[in-house]
């Protein structure tokens, strides 16, 4: 009777816990969504930054023309005159997702604009991502850790920085896809179900559709499989978790046009195939071991190993030869720069020039993951008590992602979920220990009878729940060897397992005996830490990461200043230039120009053609006449430069100029960086080199600048400019925005007549001689 009542109580508590978890998850979703709305509230519902504008434009095209036209879209408005096959070079996941949402809403008669859908895609998917984190962590360490991790992920600043409302970029959906793929992998690993394995392949397909970061998955999972094999954790569940993923996943990945044959041709994917082969060999070995007697098995092993080694060596030699025959060893530049952090800065300035490809600074870790940085080690330790397949995967995930985040600041985004999972585990284990020891202390103080009554109180539900979960996970650990079909192995394993669990229970027992005061203080400290984290996250979401970067604001003692110069300039282009006019600018502004001004650009943020970008860089760093000739040969009508000197906007073209010189000089050797440097620095003041003062970028940025304050004081470089009064001969200024942040120039047509030599000797001698002196003066500064 009592047992039945207890069982009923347990199920009731279980049901209650599930309902509570459900509502907590719902609230976490709401939190994840709403914390990302600061940008809409503080600014407006706009698309942010650079890449999102391209995605937005692609989505518009998709909703207007349908999927087949999108697939075959040849865009003649970018990369003039080369054009770009957008359908074949874009990861379509994000676009298709937003397009589907829009289509669904429209067919439900909810007439939202494409832009609105695009703006809110990222917050919606971050809610999904936190739920996926819950599932993943639950598989690893139980529901308590799952809920904590989900709550942490919902507001981790690193993820917020890429998924605020309006930040319509691939990462917005890719992080969700990444976590759900990991979850399904772990789920398959824990259950051995082919159903989840298939779902896993589909989730992987979605990830491949969404982001180039899918190579992380297809390298991390093989690594984990290899780890499992090496540590003797091979099981049929591992086989089911991995083999279908490789086969189905690779087939599906090859369906994405941008990946195509890369899925089997590039080195990024080779690891998975190699592990696939190893897995089969191991499976075969286990199978043979099962059917042969030990003596026979030994003979077979020596035979197979000797033959197999020879074959393996031959295959590997061929593979190495094949791979080595390509200059980059079959790796793409971005992957190479991941493996060798100095690669990009040495060989590919175009990758090095992107700020998000730089290594992060230490403070950025504390900015982006805050207290999680301290919790992660604790989480790793918790993962080893006990080490299961799932927890070893999470450990592997965090170790690799820490490395990658150290190479590229952008990959902090991959690191953040791992940090959240680890911290979730750590926090929940700590809470577990503290609350349980409080409970035991209370039991000791109050006696057993009262403890039973106190058990039902809601305060103790969570630890109880956890205890159940821990039991369950131990059960699965015990279960595992029994599923194996080899008997000796099983016996051995069981013995070892039994020892392990007993040892573990001992340690658990020992851990549980914490003094009451210590537990209470520890709990309080943890709560404080959590509170600090929440405060930091809200601050980061509200202040640091919500700026759309096309509208800028600044607070001064006079109040709020809004700089809406970018949209002003793009609107001017849209309304005052011909539809087919070409606009040249540095590649950062390419996506925005095509999306907002609807004008053809020469280069844009999809930096697929280094030579083309180098051509623009060369033009910007050449004297006016040479630049005019380059631009004219590209049919350019307008040149757009971004200039922050008047209002102190630091990421303007003069500050990006060193990359124009480097990238241009990398392809066209007559552009030499030392010509622009004085004392190893790019200077624009009176110390600047003549080459610098005569280059197009200087002239277009500072033309008429002295008229603003009479001195030509540049607020970004905090200096007076070197050359204040000059005229443009081949360009004319057509538009400058209110704060001078964007300046648009038009190429003058070539002269109608060619002047003779005589008379006006002043003007005649000045133009050619300055050119000649420019070329003559090149050498002394080297």
């Amino acid at each position: 009777m009592a047992a039945a009542a207890k069982a009923g109580e347990a199920t009731l508590r279980h049901a209650f816990g599930n309902v509570l978890s459900f509502f907590i998850l719902l609230l976490i979703g709401v939190l994840a969504f709403s914390i990302r709305l600061f940008s809409v509230i503080k600014y407006e519902s706009v698309i942010h930054e650079f890449d999102p504008y391209f995605n937005y434009r692609v989505t518009q095209f998709l909703t207007k023309n349908g999927i087949y036209d999108f697939w075959n879209w040849f865009d003649d408005r970018t990369w003039y005159p080369l054009g770009r096959v957008i359908g074949g070079t874009v990861y379509p996941g994000l676009t298709l997702t937003a397009g589907t949402i829009w289509w669904l809403l429209n067919s439900l008669n909810i007439p939202l604009s494409v832009e609105t859908v695009c703006v809110f895609t990222a917050p919606i998917f971050s809610a999904f991502a936190s739920w996926a984190t819950y599932l993943l962590t639950k598989e690893v360490k139980g529901a308590g850790a799952g809920l904590t991790a989900a709550a942490l992920l919902a507001m981790v600043p690193s993820y917020i920085s890429r998924s605020v409302a309006g930040s319509y970029d691939n990462e917005a959906v890719a992080i969700f896809a990444l976590i759900i793929t990991f979850y399904l992998y772990i789920k398959t690993l824990n259950t051995g179900s082919l159903f989840y394995a298939t779902l896993n392949a589909i989730a992987y397909f979605y990830m491949v559709c969404s982001w180039g970061g899918y190579t992380f998955i297809i390298n991390l999972i093989p690594m984990h499989v290899l780890l499992c094999i090496v540590t003797g954790r091979y099981s049929s569940r591992l086989y089911i978790a991995y083999a279908p993923l490789v086969v189905l996943g690779t087939l599906l990945a090859a369906l994405v046009p941008v990946v195509g044959f890369n899925a089997v041709m590039t080195s990024e994917h080779f690891a998975s195939f190699l592990v696939f082969i190893i897995l089969h060999v191991v499976a075969l070995v286990y199978y043979i071991k099962g059917i042969l007697s030990p003596k026979m098995f030994k003979v077979a092993v020596t035979l197979v190993v000797s033959v197999g080694l020879v074959v393996c060596c031959a295959v590997i030699a061929i593979l190495v030869a094949l791979v080595a025959s390509s200059p980059t060893k079959g790796w793409s530049g971005r992957s190479l720069s991941l493996l060798d952090p100095t690669y990009a800065s040495k060989y590919i300035p175009i990758i090095a020039s992107v700020s998000e490809h730089q290594p992060p600074t230490w403070p950025s870790y504390f900015m982006d993951i805050n207290v999680l940085a301290f919790l992660v080690p604790a989480g790793i330790i918790a993962c080893f008590l006990p080490l299961s397949d799932a927890s070893s995967f999470v450990v592997l995930y965090i170790v690799t992602s820490v490395y990658f985040s150290g190479v590229m600041v952008r990959l902090m985004l991959v690191f953040a979920p791992a940090a959240c999972i680890m911290s979730g585990i750590a926090l929940s284990q700590a809470f577990d220990v503290f609350t349980r020891s409080i409970k035991f202390q209370l039991l000791r103080i109050l006696g057993f009878s009262e403890a039973d009554a106190g058990d039902g109180s809601s305060a103790n539900v969570v630890p109880e729940n956890d205890a159940v979960k821990v039991d369950k996970s131990e059960e699965t650990i015990k279960e595992r060897p029994s599923r194996k079909n080899k008997k000796k192995e099983k016996e051995q394993m069981e013995k070892a397992q039994a020892e392990k669990t007993s040892a573990k229970s001992k340690t658990e027992k020992r851990l549980l005996v914490l003094p009451m005061e210590l537990s209470v203080i520890g709990l309080l400290l943890l709560v404080f830490m959590g509170a600090f984290y929440v405060v930091h996250c809200v601050w980061a979401a509200a202040e640091a990461y919500s700026a759309p970067s096309i509208v800028l604001t600044s607070y001064t003692h006079e109040g709020l200043h809004v700089f809406d110069d970018f949209r002003e300039a793009y609107a001017w282009l849209r309304h005052n230039t011909e539809v087919d006019d070409k606009v040249a600018s540095w590649w950062d502004y390419g996506y925005q120009t095509t999306a907002m001004a609807n004008r053809t650009v020469i280069v844009d943020n999809n930096t697929w053609n280094n030579t083309h970008i180098a051509t623009v860089g060369t033009a910007m760093s050449s004297p006016e006449k040479a630049a005019w000739e380059i631009f004219n040969s590209l049919d350019v009508k307008y040149v757009l430069v971004v200039f922050g000197g008047l209002v102190g906007y630091p990421s303007d073209d003069i500050n990006k100029f060193l990359w124009m010189v480097r990238i241009g000089g990398g392809v066209f050797p007559h552009i030499k960086e030392p010509d622009y440097l004085r004392d190893g620095q790019y200077r624009i003041d009176s110390q600047a080199t003549p080459t610098m003062l005569n280059c197009l970028m200087y002239k277009l940025s500072y033309y008429r600048f002295v008229e603003t304050d009479g001195k030509g004081f540049d607020r970004v470089r905090r200096t007076e400019i070197g050359k204040k009064y000059f005229k443009l001969t081949h360009f004319e200024e057509v538009f400058t925005t209110h704060h001078w942040m964007v300046r648009i120039y038009k190429l003058k047509p070539s002269k109608n007549r060619i002047r003779g030599k005589m008379k006006k000797s002043k003007s005649r001698t000045s133009t050619p001689s300055s050119k000649r002196s420019g070329s003559r003066k090149k050498n002394p500064w080297q």
């Binding site: 087949y68 697939w71 075959n72 040849f74 003649d76 003039y80 005159p81 080369l82 054009g83 096959v85 046009p257 087919d580 040969s633 590209l634 070539s750 002269k751 109608n752 007549r753 060619i754 002047r755 003779g756 030599k757 005589m758 008379k759 006006k760």
Partner: protein, 422 residues
């Protein structure tokens, strides 16, 4: 009512004015302003002016320092061409100055400049703006002790005879100029890098430019055939300019010389009665279709056609030539093809779009000596194949299809055998 009448009269009085105006459809100049130093030139050069009026030009003679002259009124040019027969003018009257003359040319109007041995700085500056440099020595004249006119009696051999014409029928007419041209004035030089200016009549190799009154102390700066006597300029907007260092060349004095024929023919060219081309009806379409597509696919066969006409002074005549070429251009020409003509001004070519996608241009850059330059470009994107435009089944891949299907069948049988045997 009265107002309406006024408008009507105004309108009717304006109509003839407009009908004779220069236009792309009717490129010959009609209204010519002649600026002279004094009206005596009107009679002393009457043969030349007569030839112009007989061809239908309305000449308006004004003194160069007349305070009421002006090239434009209310933003509209009053004349289609300007003739400066005023070598000694130091300052133009009215609103005319060097800048306004240059603007006049830059807006597509024509100009004839005749200097003389006493040419003022103003005239020299106009010439320099057009790319012609008169000898800097103000007293210098072109002297030729071998090819001088025998009728010249003062013995300093400044009236020289030259027959070193440019070899271009379109500029000087198809009829050969038999007699040499008599020239007395200052020479000029051209910058060889200047592609717009042409030497129409150059001095013989024995000529030099110096002051005939003084002794030659140092070598003359301009010698031989580098001296240009008459030059023409065709600006990039096809405005045409004639510059010569001799005003007397136009006068009635030189009867037996080739002057009259030479000047008549060259003024026909300057006033666009000859050598003015236009291209119309630029069309392109796929072979077998007639509509112009918005985009081509790689390896499409297409047909490009254009009609080119030449202005004969009164009507547009088909222009016949076998050297008109079309480029299919993307940073460099991928296809360069000579257009075939049907002798009625219609040019066409068929070619295959190259196996490269991108934004191409159909370009016709037709620049021939003496003709107005034709520069046509039309942008057209070329796309790659769509996903369903490739071959569906490759014959070479049949072994692979076979192996895949046999593999599937084999696996199916294997599974059945494995599961249900025993």
């Amino acid at each position: 009512m009265a107002k309406l009448l006024l408008y009507l009269t105004l309108a009717t009085s304006l109509i003839p004015l407009f009908s004779v105006a220069f236009s792309p459809e009717n490129p010959t100049d009609r209204r010519v302003l002649v600026l002279v130093d004094d009206f005596a030139i009107k009679s002393s050069h009457s043969l030349y002016f007569g030839s112009l009026t007989s061809r239908g030009f309305q000449l308006e003679f004004k003194l160069a320092d007349d305070p009421n002259i002006g090239l434009q009124r209310y933003g509209q040019y009053l004349y289609d061409a300007l003739v400066l027969f005023c070598p000694s003018v130091e300052r133009f009257g009215g609103s005319i100055d060097v800048a306004s003359i240059v603007d006049f040319v830059d807006s597509g109007h024509d100009l004839i400049v005749a200097a003389d041995s006493n040419a003022s700085d103003l005239i020299r500056e106009v010439a320099t703006e057009c790319g012609v440099d008169f000898d800097e020595d103000p007293a210098a004249m072109v002297i030729d002790h071998i090819n001088y006119a025998v009728s010249n009696f003062d013995g300093d051999h400044t009236l020289i005879a030259s027959d070193d014409f440019i070899k271009a029928d379109v500029i000087l007419g198809s009829k050969k100029i038999e007699a040499p041209v008599l020239f007395q004035g200052i020479g000029h030089s051209l910058n060889p890098a200047n592609s717009l200016v042409l030497k129409v009549l150059s001095a013989s190799s024995s000529a030099y430019s110096a002051n005939p009154k003084s002794k030659l102390s140092n070598p003359p700066s301009l010698t031989g055939s580098a001296i240009s006597l008459v030059s023409v300029v065709q600006a990039r907007n096809n405005a045409r300019i004639l510059i010569t260092g001799s005003l007397s060349m136009f006068s009635n004095r030189h009867e037996k010389s080739g002057n009259e024929q030479f000047l008549t023919e060259i003024s026909k060219w300057v006033f666009h009665e000859r050598g003015h081309l236009k291209a119309v009806n630029v069309r392109h379409h796929k072979v077998g279709e007639s509509d112009e597509p918005a985009i081509y696919r790689i390896n499409d066969d297409l047909e490009y056609s254009v009609e080119i006409y030449e202005w004969s002074g009164t009507s547009w005549e088909p222009y016949v030539s076998d050297d008109v070429q079309v480029q299919f251009y993307m940073m460099s020409p991928y296809v360069l093809k000579t257009l075939s003509t049907d002798q009625k001004g219609h040019y066409s070519a068929e070619f295959k779009v190259p196996d490269v996608y991108g934004v191409f241009q159909f370009k016709v850059e037709y620049q021939r000596l003496g003709y107005t330059s034709l520069s046509l470009s039309k942008q057209i994107p070329v796309r790659p194949y769509r996903h369903n435009e490739y071959e569906r089944f490759l014959p070479a891949a049949y072994p692979y299809y076979g192996s895949a299907f046999s593999m599937m069948a084999g696996f199916f049988i294997f599974t059945i055998v494995h599961l249900y045997s025993k």
